[in-house]
């Protein structure tokens, strides 16, 4: 039986087996194919409707991205007892214009299914247009769109307007956004979950009936009554990555009147930490509070998670023509490490091999040694002077490492040009 304060608590203990076929596998035209399968055990409870503790989830997903557009789909299937059930799933399309004077236009369209538990799930179609103004280390965007929840009798179309700002400071990414929702709710027995009555017909001082009986009476007496809802979310997040540790913290505040915003959705905060024990094993822990999604009739919930990510490996090469996207390389540095020796360090995540070659190695490929999840290192004998250098990831295409001047190599590629001072 539903409670007046619908509160769902999910504790996920996931042992995730993440088999990634084609993490950032990139075709010659910079297109990208990514597929993943995640398996895990999860337990979740919602007052009055517990989910079995031994539920097992499989989460397959696939994404194709080109310079101009990307399409992706992901899903989740639950082993509930002895029966498989479809969980949350999503399909998305995104298209963008080329960057012109730092300005880019973007169109996004999504079809999503949200699954909280077997008794609480629904679908939504949405589309949004955005304009981005981007610089090297930050940017702002403005967007506007519309969402259409399905299988939610209380809501019509939702107008969504958003704006945001982001910046990258070293290994920290800060992001802030404001999103406003405007929609019409139809008074029905279901709306009691969000305590949103038809105000035009109600005395504001009158306490709301905690059960469906009172609302049903209101609706039956006013079958056409509607409520205009407006609420605004202010959200900020910080993501910090250092060596083997990744931390993400987010928090937000919701503005709106008491009919639209329940007390437990006024503020929320959550955090997640991943510690990479080795290149293929990470301990993941997180928890916090998520606000309600009144447009979809989904309640606020608290959650906690503790998991172990066991494996992660890319697509067998040769399945997709592969090139190396420079964007994969988070850092590439050379530092003197003795007389005529340079220490090359690179931060490149989610790959299996990194190699360099250049005039200093007579153009023989030298593999870098993995020092952490995304840390690679090699000591290379390199005297003072000008050197030409190439880098490749997962035996892809040879590219010029970032952060140094480049020149054409004469073989339809580029080399990086290093100047090492005496």
């Amino acid at each position: 039986m539903a409670d007046s304060k619908q509160h769902a608590t999910a504790i996920a203990v996931s042992l995730a087996l993440l088999t990634t076929t084609g993490e950032h596998a990139v075709a010659q035209n910079a297109s990208e194919l990514e597929a993943r399968l995640q398996a895990g055990a999860m337990m979740s409870t919602r007052r009055g409707n517990p989910l079995p503790l031994n539920a097992l989830a499989l989460t397959p997903g696939i994404r194709y991205a080109d310079r101009r557009f990307s399409v992706s789909a992901s899903g989740e299937a639950w082993l509930n007892g002895e029966r498989w059930e479809l969980g949350s799933s999503a399909a998305a399309f995104q298209a963008q214009t080329p960057l012109l004077h730092g300005v880019r236009a973007e169109v996004l369209a999504n079809a999503t299914r949200r699954f909280v538990d077997p008794s609480l799930q629904n679908d939504q179609l949405d589309a949004e247009g955005r304009v981005h103004f981007m610089r090297q280390r930050g940017g702002v965007w403005l967007g506007s769109g519309v969402a259409r929840p399905l299988r939610v009798s209380t809501v019509t179309n939702v107008n969504v307007n958003s704006g945001g700002v982001w910046t990258r400071l070293g290994s920290t990414t800060l992001r802030g956004s404001v999103t406003s929702f405007f929609f019409t709710k139809l008074a029905s027995p279901d709306t009691i979950e969000e305590t949103v009555p038809c105000t035009a017909q109600l005395d504001a001082a009158q306490p709301l009936a905690p059960t469906g009986t009172g609302m049903a009476a209101i609706q039956s007496s006013n079958p056409g009554c509607r409520h205009q809802s407006r609420l605004t979310d202010l959200e900020a997040s910080v993501r910090w990555q250092h060596r083997l540790l990744e931390l993400t913290v987010r928090g937000g505040q919701r503005f709106g009147n008491s009919f639209d915003v329940t007390p437990e959705s006024r503020q929320w905060a959550s955090g997640q930490a991943a510690f990479w024990v080795s290149s293929q094993v990470a301990a993941v822990a997180g928890g916090g509070k998520e606000p309600a999604q009144p447009t979809r009739g989904l309640p606020a919930r608290s959650f906690g998670s503790l998991g172990l990510m066991l494996a992660y490996w890319p697509i067998p090469r040769g399945v997709v023509p592969v090139a190396t996207p420079a964007s994969l390389i988070n850092a590439f540095e050379l530092r003197p490490a003795g007389t005529a020796v340079q220490r090359i360090t690179a931060r490149i995540g989610g790959v299996e091999s990194v190699e360099i070659m250049g005039d200093f190695s007579d153009w023989t490929a030298l593999p870098l040694i993995r020092r952490g999840r995304d840390q690679w290192e090699l000591l290379v004998p390199m005297s003072a002077g000008v050197h030409h250098i190439n880098l490749r990831i997962d035996r892809g295409q040879w590219i010029a490492p970032p952060g140094m001047p480049t020149m054409k190599d004469g073989f339809n590629g580029e080399v990086g040009v290093l100047v090492i001072k005496p």
Partner: protein, 210 residues
């Protein structure tokens, strides 16, 4: 178990053969990987370079690079010839005192369209400084879409104003960032060049006759 003397001797012989094979392979000319006709042409090219007092290392390095990148022998030979020609022209423009790195960088600049006279002009106003970094930056800027004339003139002006290696590298970083952000390459260079401080006072104009 008793070791058979015949087997022992065979194993020893095999080990010796493998070891001698490996050491022969280590000492082998890396150009041996190149197809025979192309290798002969490259060797002739390198002999010509030696006779002219040009460094052969850039030519050999380019051939090895082509081999590692699985380029066809024909393309490798064409690129090696281009390197040879540009080295020869760079030496003619900069003179015999140019260092190996300067020659290599100057040859790259010629290959992206800089003229010999522009290179000579730069070389004549060296004042003891090395031309390597300005030329490396120039080559990169042209590769990124900065018009050739704009790039050469700007680098030349900064060079005359006494810009140091770090100034040129800082300029390159700024222009690269602007281009990635969507700026016009030529405008980005001109804009960033204005921010490079002048290291030397402008030349004093000769006094006017009374």
């Amino acid at each position: 178990m008793k070791a058979h003397p015949g087997r022992l001797a065979s194993a020893l012989l095999l080990t010796l053969m493998l070891a001698s094979g490996a050491s022969a392979q280590e000492g082998r000319d890396p150009l041996m990987r190149l197809e025979r006709t192309a290798r002969y042409s490259v060797e002739v090219l390198m002999d010509s370079a030696r006779l002219m007092g040009l460094p052969t290392r850039p030519i050999e390095s380019k051939v090895l690079e082509g081999l590692s990148k699985n380029a066809s022998p024909r393309l490798i030979l064409a690129v090696a010839r281009n390197v040879f020609r540009s080295l020869r022209d760079a030496r003619a423009a900069l003179g015999p005192k140019a260092t190996l790195d300067e020659l290599d960088a100057a040859a790259s600049a010629l290959r992206v369209g800089m003229t010999q006279s522009e290179l000579g002009q730069l070389g004549r106003s060296q004042h003891g400084k090395l031309l390597t970094v300005p030329l490396v930056v120039l080559v990169d800027l042209i590769s990124r879409g900065v018009p050739r004339d704009t790039a050469s003139q700007t680098i030349f002006q900064l060079w005359q104003r006494g810009a140091a290696d770090d100034d040129f590298l800082g300029l390159w970083r700024g222009v690269e960032r602007d281009i990635v952000s969507g700026a016009d390459p030529g405008a980005a260079l001109l804009n960033r060049a204005r921010q490079v401080p002048s290291r030397e006072p402008p030349p004093v104009s000769p006094p006017r006759p009374e």
